[in-house]
Structure formats: C-alpha cells, structure tokens
C-alpha cells in the first residue's frame, strides 16, 4: 500500500495533487488510516471538541467585529450593539457563550475517557501531555474572554485572578501591575485581554490541537479495550481489528454531531444563561470598580479548582493546591505504570478509584458553588485531599502488593492527612473543630481503598488474561 503517490496526474486536481500531497494525505490520514473497530460513545467528545473550537472561532470573529474593548463602551457594545443592534447578534453571542461551556464539558469528558481507557500510557504519553497543555490554553482563553463583557463578575473575577501573582514575595505586586498594565483591572487590562483572547490564545490553541492530532496519528488511537491493534496485522500490514477512519468513523461522528447540536441549540434557544451557570446573573450588571460583590466565583467549569483554592486559605499555598492538580494530571503516565490500559481489565478497587476521581472533582465543584463559609472551605480542603489521593494512590495499583505494603500505604497516607491538618492549623488556616468534623472524608476514602485491599485481596486483582482481539464494539458498548 503506497500512500505517497498522487492518485491522479491529469486535470485540475491532478495539477494540484502533484504539487501538494492532497490525495496522499487524505489516504494516509483519513480514508486508509486504521482506527480500532470498537470505539464507543466516549469517543465522540474529541471530534465534538474540535467542532466547538471551529464554532467558537467563527462566532468569535463576528463578535470581535462589533465589540468595543473600552471600559466605557464594552458593556453596552455587547448588550446593545451585539445583542440588539446587529442582526442575529443575539444568536451568535449565545452560541459563543454556550459554546464555551460546551467546550469545557466535552474536554472534561474527553480527558475522563483517556483516564478510563489508559490512553495516557506508552506510547501516548506525549499525546496526553499536549492535551494537558490544550486544557491550560483553553482555561486561559476562557478566563481572558470572561472579562470582555465587562460585567460585575467579569471584572471582579479578573481582579481576583490577576491578584494571584501577588502571592509571590517582593516581585509579586510589580508583576501583577505589569500584567494588568495598571494598578487595578482597567482599560489597559481590557485591551490586552481582548487581543490575547481573539488572537494569541486561539492561535496557540489551534497549533496545540494540530500537534495533538499529529501525535495521535503517529501512535494511533487507543480503544475501550486498551489493546494495541497494530500488534495484530494481516499479510498486507493492515491491523486485523482496524477499519478505515473514513467512512466508518466519519459517519459515526456525523451522528454524534447531530445529537450534540440538539442539546447545544436547546440551550442556545431556551436557556442561554443556563440557570446562571453558563452566564452568571451578576454579569448582567455593568462592572463597578467601587462595588465589590459579596460573593465572587468563577463559572461552573472552574468551580472545582476554586474549591481547592479556597480550601487552603493562604494565597500562595492555595494557588499551589489548585496548580498542583494540573501537575498531577501531567504526571499521570508516571503515576500509573500498570501494563493494562483499559479500566475494563483492571481491578474492582481501581475502578472505584477512577470513579472517585470524577466524584471528588464534582463534589469540589458543588462545594465551590456554595458561599465561602468556614464550613465549605474545610470541606474543600478535605475533598481536595481525596482528589489528590485518587492520583497519588495509582502507584499502589501498579502490581499486587504484600500485606505489609498495604498497611504501610494506609498508615503513611492517613499520616499525610493528619500532617496536612497540623500544617493548616499552624498557618492559622483552619481550626481543629471543623477539621476534625470533616477528617472522615479522606479517612473513609483511604480505608475503603487500602482497608478493603487488605480484607479482600481479590478486589485488587486485575484480569488474569487480556483478550487477544478487540471485544464487541458499537456506540453503547
């Protein structure tokens, strides 16, 4: 199978094809690119995220044409200029707003898919790492864009985040002033956020997504069974469990896109503010530099990280607490070195742990959605510990552990929980009363994992044998 030669050498297309590898690229990357046969519905989200990226670029283009990056004009240029004075402006803006949330939802699901099926393991570590950078670029893009409507929550959210850097001693404040171009969030900040949001970050995102795709096509897709299809090929070198990406997965993705658009446009037409979750109610009020809202919080997709930040009420350590979660994600390929990729063939306790990863993340979001009470902050601290622990216990599952090792893991992990409590008390972050009240959260989690590993060793046993070929597939399998 030679993919490098042009298919047609005459005619207009032939002229181009001889000078640009159009049909060769199409063949090698699409129509004769082998993809595993058994992709299920979790494999919709990557292509849908790309679709939303394109949609955000297209709608963003029109918004940028009508938007005024000036504190005196910004608010009304969105609320009146775009939403009322421009034809279809309301639809384009609502698509952009709902699109931002959809992007995060899809990316979170896409990441969770990778975690479930071990798509970060050799040889896909770099693919995973590029994905983490895409997430960070997306987070920056969302943060920058949130200032632009110049509402109360835009303004004060940006004020809080640009103040993060002041946690650094001595150089913090000058850096914050330099970043904002002003002592407070103001015209220079709005101007640069606008330029970064419409030019710098989208370019970076596109470049990273391209690298992500190239890296994907270099190593090939993983699949729900986590079995390498390229290790079982027929005489002509085609994987026995592979099918051409086109037309099989293009038609499957078309179905995914149609279903996605039903949900997406339901929000756009009927719930564009998503019950105050996609667009904060307070953002309908123009930014007021003299009036700090009682409760400043980010949109839903940053809430879990906000709970981590609030859980440690010390600026520098709090930022380290939530920044550390990205480091953990990046180090996932090093933490989980079990040779079995897919959750399907991993032990019951490992499945529980992966479920807890999502559960603790959602719980953190729920905590941050509430007010910043002392109670909520301590809950945030201890659920953050669970979220961290779901990553840090992964080496435990790398192989079968002896009884002594299990006891040691349990004792050391529980000691770490107590040490963190002592540390929190020593920096006057939390009192013992509330900390003792919520210590059951990490303790229960650790007891379930290590305690049941001790009591029921079968729960830590991975599948004895992996199937040689992919098992049945289809959207719902």
């Amino acid at each position: 199978m030679n993919n490098s030669k042009p298919s047609k050498t005459s005619g207009v297309f032939g002229w181009f094809d001889q000078r640009l590898p159009i049909s060769a690229t199409w063949r090698s990357q699409v129509s004769r690119y082998p993809a595993p046969k058994n992709f299920n519905l979790w494999y919709f989200f990557g292509s849908l995220a790309m679709l939303v990226l394109v949609m955000q670029l297209a709608t963003g283009l029109f918004l940028a044409i009508h938007y005024q990056p000036n504190p005196h004009l910004a608010y009304w240029s969105v609320l009146r200029g775009i939403q009322r004075d421009s034809r279809w402006g309301w639809l384009i803006r609502d698509m952009h707003v709902v699109g931002a949330s959809a992007f995060f939802l899809l990316v979170y699901l896409h990441m969770y898919r990778a975690v479930m099926y071990g798509s970060y393991k050799k040889p896909r570590e770099l693919l995973w790492l590029v994905g983490i950078f895409i997430y960070l670029a997306l987070a920056a893009e969302a943060f920058l864009g949130y200032l632009l409507p110049w509402g109360q929550m835009s303004y004060w959210g940006s004020a809080v985040v640009t103040n993060f850097v002041t946690a650094l001693p001595v150089i913090g404040k000058p850096i914050a002033t330099w970043m904002r171009g002003s002592f407070v969030v103001d015209l220079p900040t709005l101007n640069r956020f606008f330029v970064f949001h419409v030019f710098l970050m989208p370019m970076l995102l596109l470049a990273l997504v391209l690298v992500h795709l190239i890296a994907l096509h270099q190593v090939g897709s993983n699949n729900p069974d986590g079995i390498e299809i390229h290790e079982n090929v027929n005489e002509s070198g085609w994987p026995r469990d592979g099918i051409p990406f086109h037309p099989y997965y293009t038609v499957k993705d078309l179905f995914g896109v149609s279903v996605f658009f039903v949900v997406f446009f339901w929000f756009v037409f009927y719930k564009p503010a998503g019950w105050g979750l996609l667009l904060d109610k307070l953002n309908y009020t123009p930014a007021n530099i003299l009036h700090t809202p009682a409760d400043i919080h980010p949109l839903w997709f940053f809430l879990p990280f906000y709970a981590m930040l609030r859980g440690v009420p010390d600026k520098l350590y709090g930022i380290m607490a939530f920044g550390g979660s990205f480091v953990l994600l990046a180090f996932l390929p090093l933490l989980d070195r079990n040779p079995i990729r897919s959750i399907r063939y991993r032990s019951k306790l490992y499945k529980f742990n992966v479920l807890m990863m999502a559960a603790s993340f959602l719980w953190l979001g729920w905590i941050a959605h509430g007010f910043a009470t002392e109670h909520n902050m301590v809950y945030g601290l201890h659920v953050t510990e669970v979220f961290y622990a779901t990553f840090l216990v992964l080496p435990f599952f790398n192989r079968q552990r002896s009884v002594r090792a299990k006891v040691l893991w349990l004792v050391l992990a529980e000691a770490a929980v107590w040490l963190i409590d002592v540390w929190m008390y020593s920096i006057h972050a939390h009192g013992w009363d509330l900390m003792l009240l919520t210590d059951w959260i990490p303790t229960l989690y650790l007891l379930v994992v290590f305690g049941s590993a001790l009591a029921f060793p079968a729960l830590t046993r991975d599948a004895a044998k992996l199937p040689e070929r992919l098992t049945a597939g289809g959207i719902f399998h």
Partner: protein
Amino acid sequence: MTQKNSPRRHRPVLALAAVLLAACGAAWGSVASTVPPLRPITVNLQDKAALRNGALYTVHMCVACHSLQGVRYSSLPKVLGLSRAQFLATIGTNGHHYHDTITSNMPAAMMEAYVKIAPPDLTVIAQRRSAAWLYTYLTSFYVDPSRPTGVNNTVRYNVAMPDVFASMQGLQKPVVVQGLRFGSPAKVAIGVEPLTQGSMTKAQFDQTARDIVAFLYAVAHPHQQERARLGPWILGLFLALSVLTYLLYKLYWRRVITSEERWWRVGR
C-alpha cells in the same frame, strides 16, 4: 475468551449518565435568609394594550430618573404593535432623536446627590431580575420612618428609591415576621398592607404595575418570540438529522460484520 474469566462489561452509557447526573446535582446551591414570597405574574407579550400602557408609564415616569440604555426608541413601535407615527403621537421620545437610546434627562450626578446612588439602568435590572421580582418590588414599598426616604421595600431591603407610587397606590405598612437576614435573626417584612388610599384602587394599581413589568420584560428579552419561533425548527432539524445519520451509520457499519467476527454487534 471464556465467559468465566471475562470481566464484567463496562457500561459507558451508565457511566456517562452517572457523571452527568452528578454534575446536575453539583449545580444546586443554598442561601440562608428569609425571602419574602414573590407575587406571581404572567407576562403576555401578545397583549399589546398592556405593553403600551407599561411603555407610557415607563417612558414618562421611570425614565425621569432611570435610563434604558439597551433600548432605542425606534425599537419600541414593533414591540408595542404601533406604527412609527402612532408611537410618536402617543408615547413619544421625551424630546430625543427617534433612534436614540432611552436615556434619562436627569444627570446621574444630580441623582447621586439626591439619593446617594445613581439609579440603575432598567435594561440591566429587568434582565437580571425575574418578572415576579419586579412586580413584587413595584407593589411592595412600605412606610419605614428609619429610612431617609421614609419608605422601605420587602424584596429590596434598605432600598434607596423613594416611593414614587405613593400618590397612585397610597401608603402601605409592612407585615413583619421574626426571620433571618444574612444568617442572623431579625424582623423581616414579608408583605404589605394598605395604610392610606391613593388615586387608584388596589386592582387598578396592580394592573398598572403588571403592565410596567410586562413592558420591561419585553424590552429586556427582545428575542423571546424569535427564539420561540425558531427553536422548534432548529431542534427538529437536528433531531431529524440525528435519525438520518444514525441510519446512515448503521448502513455503513453493516459491512464491518461480513468477516469472521460474527459477534460484532453493530448493524445486526
């Protein structure tokens, strides 16, 4: 692979449903304060007479102090079901250009001197608050001698706005209960009772307030009818596409089972 040592089938649908359901649960929050009940209201955007009455009061009474910077006078005839000439003859533009935004003639600085705060823009308020909140707010001013304006409001405690409806509605006294304010025990006004008679009956005034709310709601949600008209078509289009693309997917994937993999379940 035999049935015995095969792991339990991992069910992605259930896993996804669980994750999404938990995310919905995470969207729940709570506040600790005694909230006065809101008066129910149904806004009928087709009742043009009500909208016109509301517009008349808004443009000639509210706009004395408040602005509606999100709205241009020229956008009103369509909302109110009037021609441009009819609109100019009945409601008018307070001396502004027809295509101007609705801006109060009262300078904001002067209002700040009068009531310590610039009156908020009504497009902003009407977008942020529900129709029921606006209706309750407009009808729930009560006498409170501790306030500089002599009045307070059940849904907006310590409101800066004076009771501009006193002559129409008459004065009202609060219905007070023991409750919570920002978490601490306090006497909370949860309703109002008439104290003096104004120029309107209660029914007349409530109707006027409802008309004002209907108008504010209409201009704060200018694309409501377009959304309702377009939405079903767009959703229907993608639902139909979902069915068609699913059939197409099944059709293509039928080929995948032609080889030895009889167990292949797609397209069966």
